[in-house]
Structures are given as structure tokens and as C-alpha cells.
Amino acid sequence: MPDLLSVEGLCAGYGEARVLNDIGFALRPGESLALLGRNGVGKSTLIRSLIGLTRRQGGRLRFAGADITAAPPFRRARAGIGWVPQERAMFPSLSVEEHLTTVARRGPFDLARVYDIFPRLAERRANMGNQLSGGEQQMVAIARALMTNPRLLLLDEPMEGLAPIIVHDLAAVIRRLIAESGLSVIVVEQHARLALSMTARAMVLDRGRIVHDGPSTELLEDNDKLGRLVAVAA
């Protein structure tokens, strides 16, 4: 099967500053990838570079058979990249339902289906984006990305700042999406073990470069290696 996403020699950052160096990897349809690494190694910058919100300083990107190297963010989103931004990026002046309908595109995910996945949002449909708990905001951010009917879902620290019980529920939803919808997923997560438990493959970044790429189970089973690469106790 041809790759859904391929990244070649990507160098990117903000203005003159370079954060990512010579990043190269490919993702197949339906593949799930955990993006791990210490704070500040460029995980979120890589996600933002995939959606097109950083300054590209070199390299090429292909998605779904088309070259998207020079495509602006809205074209990448329309090509099928669904983005769940870090810190959720709510629109305070939009209601929950407007968050979903404003970005909706035709496909298997519609209002009925995302309300089925997140019943809580159906109850909250008239609330504004800034009148929600952190967990509800994260549900909106994921539901909103699903409404664009993506082929690749980018989750940038979806569990950040959430209570353990909510993390547990959200992780179950994400696992189900990966298993049942055929979506490709890239998830950035501080809790390495959680991310590894949700995905089939893991990539570790350090100082803007890929330093490890392999099956998630390999890192889950090798505590020393995981500790060396990511340095977390979780």
C-alpha cells in the first residue's frame, strides 16, 4: 500500500530559528504513531509543520499522493489532515455545535456520529467554547478535527492538564478510533507509556532529530531503553 504521509529531509522552525533538522519518515494508511521525547525537542513543532504553521526551511512533504510542501494550512486540512492543537485552541465566541459545523466536511463523521462518540458534547452543544471544562474542551477539539473527515489525525498532547479519570476515558475513545475507523494517527504525549499503549509504532525525537523509530511494544517492554530515550518515570 502506498504511504499516506511521507516526510523527507524536513527542516523547519520559527523565523530564523531552526527547531527540526532533517526529519524523514513515512506513515501508511491506518498506522498509529506515538511521537515521544523530552520537553522542547520539537514534537509540537513537527505537528505544526505537518499542518503548515511553521516556517519550512527545507525538505518535502507528500500526503495522499500529492505534494503538499507549499500548500497553506487550510489546503492541507482539506486534503485530509485533521488537527487537534496543543492546548485545544477553542474559539471562545463559537458554541460547541458551531465548533463542529463551521469546519465540517462531507464524510462518515457527521454531527450524529461525533455526538455518539462524545455524548457529553450533545448536552453541551449550546455552550460557548470558553464555558467548558478542560476535558470537554478536549472532546470538542477531537470532535472538531473528526468533523473535517480526515485521513490522518494529529493529536498534540491531548491529555495535557486533564484529570486521570478523563484521561482514561479519552484514551479509550482514541484507541477505538484507531482500531475501528481506519484513521492514521500521530499522537504527541508526555506520558510515554500511555502513548505507547495506544499506538503500534513509536518515534522519539531529541534536539530536533529522530533518534529512535520502532514498534511501540519494543519500548513498552524495555524500561531501560525507554528511560534513556524519554527519561520519564510514567
Binding site: 499542518i51 503548515g52 504553521l53 497553506p72 494550512p73 487550510f74 492541507r76 486540512a77 482539506r78 488537527w83 492543537p85 485552541a89 477553542m90 474559539f91 471562545p92 465566541s93 463559537l94 458554541s95 458551531e98 459545523t101 463551521t102 469546519v103 466536511r105 449550546a126 455552550n127 460557548m128 467554547g129 472538531r144 478535527a145 473535517t148
Partner: protein
């Protein structure tokens, strides 16, 4: 004789015009952080369009109003696509210099096409003269102005709060990167907003010929007023500029009546006082946010 009710009324009519012209400036400044001093030029284009259609084709005044909106809106759309969009990433000084240059070009163009004389419109008989309401003489045309602006503002409010286009505008104002990264063509949304805003300005220019006058210096003469509305009201909102327009209109008219020596200076005092009290604009209850959502005008109920 008590002049206050009449002054209040004239001030509200004047404020209505200011709001109509300035609201587009508020939206576009809030959305793109683009300092557009040329906004008044589009009001002037609308005014001249109205005068031209009525003189050239003998069209009645009211029939020229939609054309004033269309001509100014189209002119704004083209100017944004061809000229202004290249300045969004430029410094504010570059934006100011460029748009002031645009104003001077508009003065030269208007002088070349229409001469330097004051223009006038012939109002239909129904809009001339006065009506007496509770013992106060009210100008029919000013009454019509206030009514027109109430209807237009309500329409704009509905557009912004009840339509998908309005939700896209609000999303882009709230968080441009997120809107863009979720598939909204923010550049196109902005162009349409710009065209809508300049169209409203053009309509204001046409309605204002009778009240504000119209000559080639229009855009320069009233530039400060339009900017005051946005600065005092806060960019990117409907309600802030609405309140600011009415305050400025009433204070300007009343100030010139009661304190003719201070004349046009009153509104600057007002601006200084209001900015000291509300540094981020009159945000109706939420002054801590620098960019107030447009939905404040019509609150959603849960």
C-alpha cells in the same frame, strides 16, 4: 427652550452614520490587525456612486443606495485582493503610510472625476422636513437614518451570529491559526469581510451626503472620527463600536452647541477619558479581553 432632546436626536443620527461607516473598519482591524486609514475613501466612493447614478440616470435617491453599497464593496474587494493584502505582514508604519497614500490618491481621483465642489443629493419628499414627536421637532431624514442603521445593524448581527459565514469570521478572529489549520480559508473570509465592510461604508457615505457633505477631501476630513470609533469601541466587535459611535455622535453635536469655543476638541477629550477608563475599548462587561467576540451583540442562550 430646552434643546437637549433635539441635540440628542441629531447626535444619535450622526452616530448612526459613524457606526455604519466604521463597523467594517472595526471588523477588518480586529481580524487582520491591519491599520487601514483609507477606509473613509470607500465611504466617499459610495457617496459619489449615489450622486453619479442619480445625476447621470436620474435615479431616485433610495434606488442609488444599493448601488452605492455594491460599488464601494466591489472597490474594496478589488483593492484588498490587489493592494492591501500584501501589507498584512508589513509593519504598522508601512500600513499607515500606504493607506494614507491611498487616501491622497482618492482625493486626486475624486477631484479629477467630479471636481472639488460639494455634492448634493435630492431627497424624496417623504424624507424632507420635520415631524413632531412629543413636542420635539425631529428631522424626517435623520429619523430615517437611525431606522436604517438599526435595521442594518440587526442584519449584520444576525449574519455574524446565525450563519456559517459569521461563525467562520468569529473563528478566524478568535484564533486565526486554528481556523486555518482546520480548513477555513481565512484569506478568503477576510476578503469578503473587507468587501462587506467597505460596502457598508459606501452605504454610509451615500446616506451621509445630506449630513456629512461630500467633497474630495471626505476621506481625510472624517478619518479621525472613524478611527476614534474603532479605538474607543474596540476592534473586532459590533457592540463596542455601536456604543462608541453613539457617544461620539451625541458628544460632538452637543459639544459644538454648548461649548462652541471648544468646538471639535470635545471628542478628543472624550477619547482620552474613555481610553483611560477602558484601555482595551468599550467591551461591554468584558474589558479584560483584547479581542471581543462579535457574538456579544446577540447573546446565545444555552
Amino acid at each position: 427652550m430646552n434643546a437637549l432632546p433635539g441635540l440628542l436626536f441629531d447626535g444619535l443620527a450622526y452616530g448612526s452614520l459613524l457606526f455604519l461607516v466604521s463597523i467594517g473598519l472595526s471588523i477588518t482591524m480586529g481580524l487582520m490587525n491591519f491599520i487601514n486609514l483609507a477606509h473613509g475613501a470607500f465611504a466617499m466612493i459610495g457617496g459619489y456612486a449615489s450622486v453619479w447614478f442619480s445625476h447621470r440616470f436620474g435615479m431616485p435617491f433610495l434606488a442609488t443606495l444599493p448601488l452605492a453599497f455594491a460599488v464601494a464593496g466591489l472597490a474594496g474587494l478589488i483593492a484588498e485582493r490587489v493592494l492591501f493584502r500584501h501589507l498584512y505582514r508589513a509593519s504598522h508604519l508601512d500600513q499607515v503610510l500606504f493607506t494614507v497614500g491611498f487616501v491622497f490618491s482618492s482625493i486626486a481621483a475624486a477631484t479629477y472625476l467630479f471636481g472639488s465642489a460639494q455634492q448634493s443629493v435630492s431627497l424624496p419628499a417623504a424624507l424632507q422636513g420635520q415631524v413632531q414627536v412629543m413636542g420635539v421637532d425631529l428631522g424626517r431624514y435623520r429619523l430615517f437614518l437611525i431606522g436604517a442603521v438599526v435595521v442594518l445593524s440587526a442584519g449584520l448581527g444576525l449574519l455574524m451570529t446565525r450563519t456559517r459565514f459569521g461563525a467562520q469570521v468569529r473563528a478566524a478572529v478568535d484564533n486565526r491559526d486554528a481556523a486555518e489549520g482546520l480548513g477555513l480559508n481565512v484569506g478568503l473570509v477576510f476578503s469578503l469581510c473587507f468587501g462587506l465592510g467597505t460596502g457598508m461604508a459606501g452605504l454610509g457615505g451615500a446616506l451621509g451626503v445630506e449630513v456629512l457633505g461630500l467633497d474630495p477631501g471626505f476621506a481625510l476630513k472624517y478619518m479621525v472620527y472613524f478611527l476614534l470609533v474603532v479605538v474607543v469601541g474596540g476592534a473586532g466587535t459590533l457592540s463596542g463600536p455601536l456604543v462608541a459611535s453613539m457617544l461620539l455622535g451625541v458628544c460632538d453635536v452637543a459639544g459644538k452647541y454648548y461649548l462652541p469655543q471648544a468646538g471639535a476638541f470635545i471628542i478628543y477629550v472624550l477619547m482620552i477619558v474613555l481610553l483611560l477608563a477602558f484601555p482595551k475599548g468599550l467591551g461591554l462587561g468584558r474589558p479584560s479581553l483584547s479581542r471581543l467576540p462579535l457574538s456579544i451583540l446577540v447573546r446565545r442562550r444555552a
